[in-house]
């Protein structure tokens, strides 16, 4: 029979130090509890408001929305069943958004790169920044009226329709898109500037120290880094463009259908007038002359869907950036 083996050498793991007593709500003062409750209430109230809008518009929209409405063109008529659908406003929204963002993004990114990377002379850079802030704070109706004054100049006659008397109409997709870009520009500019400023200085210096020029550094190192910022900014800007009414009513003519000017297929449309979902909702609502609240609800629901999709895209782009880093 074997002798019992010696007891194994084993030392138990040292016991963990007890966690310090956390500060619980019991230990708080009343003012802190009140502030805590207020924070919760504010958050919940915001959620409730959002939910109310989405649910209400969703119920109304689903009630009145049907494929026929989506894919038929609107026509003027006295009876509701003859006034058609919202195809043209949807197309108008898409075209106007594309024009606006296509103008805004290069301008805003170039301005941000100049302000952050060069910024000399400094007073000029500050002037550019505050100028863009002023644009951001300008009411859209003011931008619209200003745009009308500009695009009615004879210089810009080719961009819109010229009446037989020689007067320039000044309203077209190009005119509205150009002014819409001013609405989106501050958002893209701000996002691009924040992105550039968040890139640490030593990354630029690393590139310079390899014998690269400033331009090369901007193109290969900095711009790819701020892609997600720019995407977020432009998605926000697109949301603003999609949701804007004043510029559409003043500068796009807010005609029920897309009305091309001239025979050239795409250019004609760009020179012509049209409407967007916002102006359609306004026109069809009891406030406008259409008096078709059901169609207004349906169109508003589509508008909401577009904006929500854009927000979702913003979120997605932001996450992709995080996973890459």
């Amino acid at each position: 029979m074997a002798v019992a083996p010696p007891p194994p050498v084993y030392d138990p793991p040292a016991p963990l130090r007890p966690a310090p007593r956390g500060d619980t709500i019991r230990s708080w003062r009343w003012s802190q509890r009140l502030a805590f409750a207020a924070c919760w209430a504010a958050g919940l109230a915001l959620c409730a408001v959002t939910l109310a809008i989405v649910v209400y518009m969703g119920v109304r929209g689903v009630q009145y929305l049907n494929p026929k409405l989506l894919f038929s063109r609107p026509t003027p008529g006295l009876q509701q069943h003859t006034t058609g659908g919202i195809l043209d406003p949807i197309l108008g929204t898409v075209i106007l958004t594309i024009i606006g963002i296509a103008i805004a993004v290069p301008l805003a990114v170039a301005a941000a790169v100049w302000v952050v990377e060069y910024g000399k002379p400094a007073p000029l850079a500050r002037a550019v920044e505050s100028g863009i802030e002023v644009v951001a704070g300008t009411p859209d109706i003011v931008i619209a009226i200003f745009g009308l004054a500009i695009f009615q100049l004879h210089l810009f006659a080719p961009l819109s329709f010229t009446a037989s008397g020689g007067g320039v109409f000044g309203r077209s997709f190009i005119a509205a898109g150009a002014m819409m870009s001013l609405i989106a520009l501050p958002l893209v500019f701000g996002a691009a500037r924040e992105g550039l400023m968040s890139i640490p200085m030593h990354l630029r210096e690393a590139s310079w120290a390899l014998g690269k020029t400033r331009i090369c550094t901007i193109r290969t190192i900095l711009l790819p880094q701020i892609r997600a910022n720019v995407a977020t900014g432009s998605a926000l800007g697109m949301g603003r463009i999609v949701g804007d009414t004043a510029v559409v009513v003043v500068l796009l003519g807010a005609t029920l259908q897309l009305e091309p000017q001239g025979d050239v297929p795409i250019l004609g449309n760009l020179r012509g007038t049209g409407s967007t979902l916002t102006s359609y909702v306004y026109g069809a609502s009891p406030a406008g002359e259409g008096n078709a609240p059901q169609k207004a609800y349906a169109a508003a629901f589509v508008l909401l869907l577009i904006v929500l999709t854009l927000n979702f895209v913003v979120d997605l782009l932001g996450r992709r950036k995080e996973s890459l880093a």
Binding site: P8, L203, A209, Q225
Partner: protein, 303 residues
Amino acid sequence: MTSRDRVADPFLDDAVPSLPPPRRRVRLDRSPVPVPETQGAPTARVRRRGPGGPERMRVEGLSVRYGDNLAVKDVSLSIHAGEALALIGPSGCGKTTLLRTLNRLTETTAGAGRGGRVLLDGVDVEQVELTALRRRIAMVFQQPNPFPMSIFDNVAYAIRVQNRKRPGRRELEPQVVDALRRAGLYDEVAGDLDRPALRLSGGQQQRLCIARAIATRPEVLLMDEPCSALDPRSTEVIEDLIGELRRELAVVIVTHNLAQAHRVGDKVAFMYLGDLVEWGDADQVFEAPRAQRTRDYVAGAFG
């Protein structure tokens, strides 16, 4: 495995099947812990190579100012191929400024001005085209700063001319592999050069930065506290690497770590408040300093 062995006893296996391994080894005897033998002097790891090669750079009466603040005052020294020059001194004494002046990186700072001359192979660096100069005088920074691209692209970016896409991957592969190999990184990343560089560990990132810097076969390598953000193990790897690199190029390294300066530096320059107080062989500066301020600093009296 040692802890597992102790538990793996035939009588005990069933009784305590899943005991966690002990946290620390327990010494049963109470005799005093033996002191580990010191392995020679702490400076012995990198062997000194004697006098360096030909003179590469010469700094003559260099002064640098930021606005009204004179950061470097009338500094003159020379940098030789085949040896490492360590710049030491307390914080804010102009070491980094001196280093950044060598490849004209101080010019990017607003309000910086420069007096005196910096010569590279007898030519004033002002007269060398800036991008060409920086390809000949490469730099590694304090913070490992690889670009957010793949490992391959990081090195290839340094080799390509500005932002051209050519030469393509096939032509560049030998050069990139060679640079990574010289930086001692290739064996660790050979499997996947397309991995994002930011996924590497801190020490690997710093070696990637070194690979990037030496990819264009520069004549001078400037290092601005290359190990201050790294752990001791990575620091040792990089110090060994510096010992290798200085065979083929001139290394200038700024460091706060005196032991490191002694280990890697063939020459040491001590700066204090913008002045070059003392400059000479490492052994001389550390063991027989001429100036009182150097003596105090090396002895740890201030800093």
